[in-house]
């Protein structure tokens, strides 16, 4: 049998319009970066969904562990002074 692998996985990010962030669209398999870009174009932008594409090898994505969610994301709740509504403005103050 001939060599037949599924090739490395690449994550695809698409910018829908200039000025907004690239957003994760899905993934593709490809043997190299040129093929990854071509496949991403064919699979994810058949209807003008994008003006720019990024492809990133999936094994370079470092993701947080859902088990650490509390530790990572909860502290914001008890630091309400980070939100503008925490502060009391004097009567009559406007545009602030």
């Amino acid at each position: 049998m001939s060599q037949d692998t599924q090739w490395p996985l690449w994550e695809v990010f698409i910018q829908a319009n200039p000025g907004i962030p690239h957003k994760h669209a899905g993934s593709v398999h490809a043997s190299d970066k040129e093929m990854a870009l071509t496949n991403a174009r064919d699979v994810y932008t058949r209807r003008k969904e994008g003006t720019s594409i990024w492809v990133v090898p999936s094994n370079y994505v470092v993701a947080s562990n859902p088990d650490d969610s509390d530790m990572l994301f909860d502290p914001a709740n008890d630091k309400i002074y980070r939100h503008p509504t925490f502060y009391i403005m004097p009567e009559g103050a406007e545009a602030i």
Partner: protein
């Protein structure tokens, strides 16, 4: 956290209509059910390219040919979105394809029927894609994040498929007597298999219970089937075609159409591999996959060579 705590947390997320993401803990049965359902869904898109691909070279006009090419290309794309979603659950692309080619994984029974006339392109778009849309709109709310996102993307693209099919049926139904007859014949052949696409009755569907409880499926087979029939019956009236079911009748008190019984013996036969085209569909897939092996091999060698040079 021990297993019980994980399960409780999972159930809380499901109850709150939150999505489950690939790195979240999930029960083994949830993972298994998703891999089965998503891969079956992806295989249906991939095998579904065949009945229509067959007509690309024989489309009656350049407009029809361009549309059909785009539609078949979309189906390939949809298959890939779904394979990607399945792979987030830990199954590889090779395993997915192997399961399809060895018959371990199923695909929709509808694609084991032949597309023998141009009117079948109309009937497939109108009925088969129509049924798929009803199912996929419901699945946009599925609890597994990557599956839900794939469904949202697919639904955006799919409505053109149904409209182009209905347009073909409309033209033929309003054409010559012979064209009208072809349109009616296609409806006669595709109607019942389309209803089978929603799967067995709820009372006879072993996987429905858990799938609904875990919000993998948001509506039951029978609910989705009824919704499809209600929409489609009216569309058939508009173009003057007759749905081949003498029991099809509007039921004022239910607010739905009543309809006749599906031939479940036929459904079982086709699921088990004895449909008109089962063998042809799989052997064509195997051949195409084998014929492409040298291209994959060349690409791998080229990539390895370039990586070595760069190092």
């Amino acid at each position: 956290m021990d297993e019980q705590k994980y399960l409780e947390h999972f159930e809380t997320l499901i109850a709150a209509d939150k999505k489950i993401e690939p790195r979240d803990w999930m029960p083994e049965d949830y993972r298994k059910h998703l891999i089965r359902q998503i891969s079956q869904h992806g295989h249906s898109e991939i095998i579904g390219m065949q009945p229509e691909g067959n007509w690309i070279t024989r489309a009656p006009s350049l407009r029809a040919k361009l549309i059909l090419l785009a539609k078949v290309q979309d189906e390939g794309g949809h298959g890939l979105y779904l394979y990607s979603a399945a792979e987030t659950l830990g199954i590889s692309r090779e395993e997915l394809i192997d399961q399809l080619e060895t018959g371990k994984a199923k695909y929709s029974t509808i694609f084991n029927y032949p597309a023998i006339t141009w009117a079948d392109m109309g009937a497939i778009g109108w009925l088969v894609d129509g049924a798929a849309i009803v199912n996929q709109i419901s699945l946009q709310r599925t609890s597994y994040g990557p599956y839900s996102r794939a469904m949202i993307r697919i639904c955006k693209e799919e409505s053109f498929h149904q409209r182009q099919g209905y347009e073909i049926m409309t033209h033929m139904a309003r054409g010559t007597a012979e064209q009208r007859e072809m349109a009616q014949d296609a409806l006669n052949r595709w109607w019942w298999p389309s209803l089978m696409m929603f799967g067995p009755h709820d009372t006879n569907s072993p996987n429905t219970g858990k799938a609904i409880r875990w919000k993998i499926k948001r509506d039951s087979n029978d609910e989705l089937r009824q919704s499809f029939i209600d929409k489609t019956a009216k569309q058939a009236d508009v173009i003057g075609l007759t749905i081949p079911d003498p029991k099809l009748k509007w039921n004022e008190s239910r607010g739905h159409y009543d309809f006749g019984e599906i031939d479940w013996a036929e459904f079982d036969r086709v699921v088990k591999g004895d449909g008109p085209c089962n063998k042809q569909r799989i052997s064509h897939h195997v051949k195409a996959h084998k014929d492409g092996a040298w291209v994959r091999e060349a690409a791998s060698v080229y990539a390895a060579k370039r990586a070595k040079k760069a190092a």
